[in-house]
């Protein structure tokens, strides 16, 4: 059991989530327990309605559990208010969405700089950090292109650059390859793997494609609002 005793960066205990009230109430999570170790690459899988998206929303501090505990870096997130959670997102989390969600008519660099603006970084710092992030995803030469001028794969790489520009602890990716063909998907997964291994960033990714989940080290399977099973140590167990 005690193969890895490192403190988990994320700890869910008895987390439930109920939408609606009374007769129409729907319980999306029925008591989820989950530990995620810092630096892990976790794929979350499960059929739709299994509670994986709800869990990701809670882990992303976008939503709060109805009941239960959510510890992130030893902080009880479930006790925080809306603005405090926004500050947690700003400081520790990065998001990548299925639909890229870049601001239109806005250059790649300005999109990447956006989180730095909210952090109050000055212009020079924003530019330097933004360019560095674009370089990591291999798009530094495309910095002045707007989303409309970029391919889907490039847009998702810009979105990843935006997510990592603040050097977050956790990168949450919601079906990051859902809108891409298989070749681009593999590119994106290689990029995420590289970021995970080189920068030690914890990656949480929702996917329903086993091919993509295969890039992860840990796979969490959801079913009917509960964690069904966890496969870990998927990556060649060189660290064992």
């Amino acid at each position: 059991m005690a193969e890895r005793v490192a403190d988990p960066i994320i700890r869910l205990r008895g987390v439930t989530k109920t939408y609606g009230e009374g007769a129409t109430a729907f319980q999306a999570l029925k008591g989820v327990d989950l530990d995620i170790t810092g630096g892990d690459f976790v794929a979350v899988m499960g059929p739709s309605g299994s509670g994986k998206s709800t869990t990701m929303n809670i882990l992303g501090c976008l939503d709060v559990p109805t009941d239960g505990e959510f510890m992130f870096k030893d902080v009880h997130i479930e006790t925080l208010d809306r603005d405090q959670r926004a500050l947690v997102r700003r400081k520790y989390l990065g998001f990548v969405f299925q639909g890229f969600n870049l601001l239109s008519r806005t250059s790649a660099l300005e999109n990447v700089e956006l989180p730095l603006l909210y952090r109050g970084e000055d212009k020079k710092t924003r530019h330097d950090m933004g360019m560095a992030a674009l370089e990591k995803v291999g798009l530094d030469k495309w910095w002045d292109h707007t989303p409309a001028e970029l391919s889907g794969g490039q847009q998702q790489r810009v979105a990843i650059a935006r997510a990592i520009v603040t050097n977050p602890d956790v990168l949450l990716a919601d079906e990051p390859t859902g809108n891409l063909d298989s070749e681009r998907s593999v590119e994106i997964m290689k990029l995420l793997t590289q970021l995970n291994q080189e920068s030690g960033i914890t990656v949480l990714m929702v996917t329903h494609e086993p091919d993509m989940a295969a890039f992860a080290n840990t796979i969490v399977h959801f079913k009917d609002g509960l964690v069904e099973r966890i496969e870990t140590g998927m990556r060649a167990r060189v660290d064992a």
Partner: protein, 402 residues
């Protein structure tokens, strides 16, 4: 944080130039309407005051008869006599000068040009009571006045029609069978406030007019100059008492003369143009409010259209107050931009319209500041509702928004 939201707001405005322009259009038109209307109203008031001032301020016009009309039946009230003029000048306190007037019309002829005009017989006191500068020549000498010599001071319209604007002093022309020497020419005064061309006149000594044109010694009008330090109403009252006594009007009977106070008319007319200015300003003000509602509508649509953008910002870590500030600052910047453009548009409109309306051009700093301030307030008031709506969005729903 304010610098950040300002940067965000400016970027967003610049990214959507057409939308931004359409948003501000209502404010542009509203501010332009308020500023132009108020300025033109004030210019009209100024023009009216100027025209009345040309009649002379602090002047009482005294005429026989009641009011403007002659009234119903009964005998025509007698005109004034020379002794009345003397008495008013000597006995009423606060009177600086009295100019009697006798009027006639005749055709003036000079070198084949002829022009039908009004002859005003008066004394040199006429030029003391009201300032009317000469462009050339002089006014009557006491000797000319006493003798009733046929000397003329001509108005600008007469000079134009009879002498083709050439130098007229020293020339001689015929008027109603009388040969008359031009001793002075008058500066142009323009239209009187009540229509009629004040420059279409020939001024002669009153004795000459009475002897050669009217054929009697009656005086149809007295222009009474009032010392500025005296209360005009007080002077009017003692003037009225004196005339009642001299014209043997019994106590209780109505006056058979009237006193017309130019200062009072000026105040009345100024009051009505000021009132009109306020009314058009109020109407224009309503258009400004409608402009504000326009901003609100487009901002609300914009919030809906940008729901996903707001979701991204929230997910990235923007707190609600930052999103609120961004949209509020956008609304304020837009309405201030609209305000500036409205002010510019108003100046253009004023420059075009004032010559057409024949009112003086003017720049009223106060209304410009007020209209600009109102546009800022509108930005805050009408920007707040959409901004609050943007800030209250749930990031998860906002991100899913199609």
């Amino acid at each position: 944080m304010l610098g950040t939201t300002f940067t965000l707001a400016i970027r967003s405005i610049l990214r959507h130039k057409l939308r931004s322009f359409l948003t501000t259009l209502g404010i542009i038109i509203g501010v332009a309407a308020v500023v132009a209307m108020v300025t033109l109203g004030k210019a009209t008031t100024a023009a009216v005051q100027q025209q009345i001032a040309s009649l002379g301020t602090n002047i009482l016009q005294v005429r026989p008869g009641q009011g403007f009309g002659r009234g119903g039946g009964g005998p025509r009230p007698p005109d004034f006599e020379e002794s009345d003029v003397e008495a008013v000048r000597e006995q009423v306190a606060g009177v600086t000068a009295v100019a009697p007037q006798a009027q006639s019309t005749a055709t003036a002829i000079h070198e084949g040009a002829n022009w039908s005009t009004t002859i005003n017989g008066t004394t040199s006191a006429f030029f003391t009571v009201q300032p009317w500068p000469l462009t050339a020549g002089r006014t009557f000498s006491p000797a000319e006045e006493a003798a009733g010599k046929a000397v003329c001071i001509i108005g600008a319209t007469v000079q134009q029609n009879l002498f083709r604007n050439r130098q007229a002093v020293g020339e001689r022309f015929r008027i109603g069978g009388v040969s008359c020497d031009v001793i002075g020419t008058l500066s142009r005064r323009g239209q009187a406030g009540f229509g009629g061309d004040q420059d279409d006149t020939v001024i002669m000594p009153i004795k000459a007019v009475q002897r050669r044109f009217t054929g009697n010694r009656d005086i149809r009008l007295m222009l009474v100059g009032v010392d500025e330090t005296y209360d005009s109403a007080q002077v009017q009252s003692s003037l009225s008492d004196l005339l009642r006594e001299r014209r043997n009007i019994e106590a209780g009977a109505e006056d058979n003369f009237n006193i017309f106070d130019t200062a009072q008319i000026s105040a009345t007319l100024t009051g009505s143009t000021t009132l009109l200015t306020r009314i058009v300003a109020a109407v224009a003000g309503i258009s400004l409010i409608v402009g504000g509602i326009g901003i609100m509508n487009i901002m609300l649509v914009s919030v809906t259209e940008r729901t996903r953008e707001i979701g991204i910002r929230l997910a990235i870590g923007a707190i609600a107050s930052e999103v609120l500030m961004q949209f509020l600052v956008e609304a304020i910047v837009l309405s201030l931009l609209g305000g500036v453009m409205g002010l510019v548009l108003a100046q253009v409109a004023i420059a075009i319209i004032t010559p057409i309306m024949q009112v003086p051009w003017m720049f009223d700093l106060q209304i410009n500041i007020v209209a600009f301030a109102i546009s800022a307030v509108i930005g805050v008031v009408f920007g707040f509702f959409p901004a609050r709506r943007a800030a209250s969005l749930n990031p998860i729903d906002a991100l899913r928004h199609e």
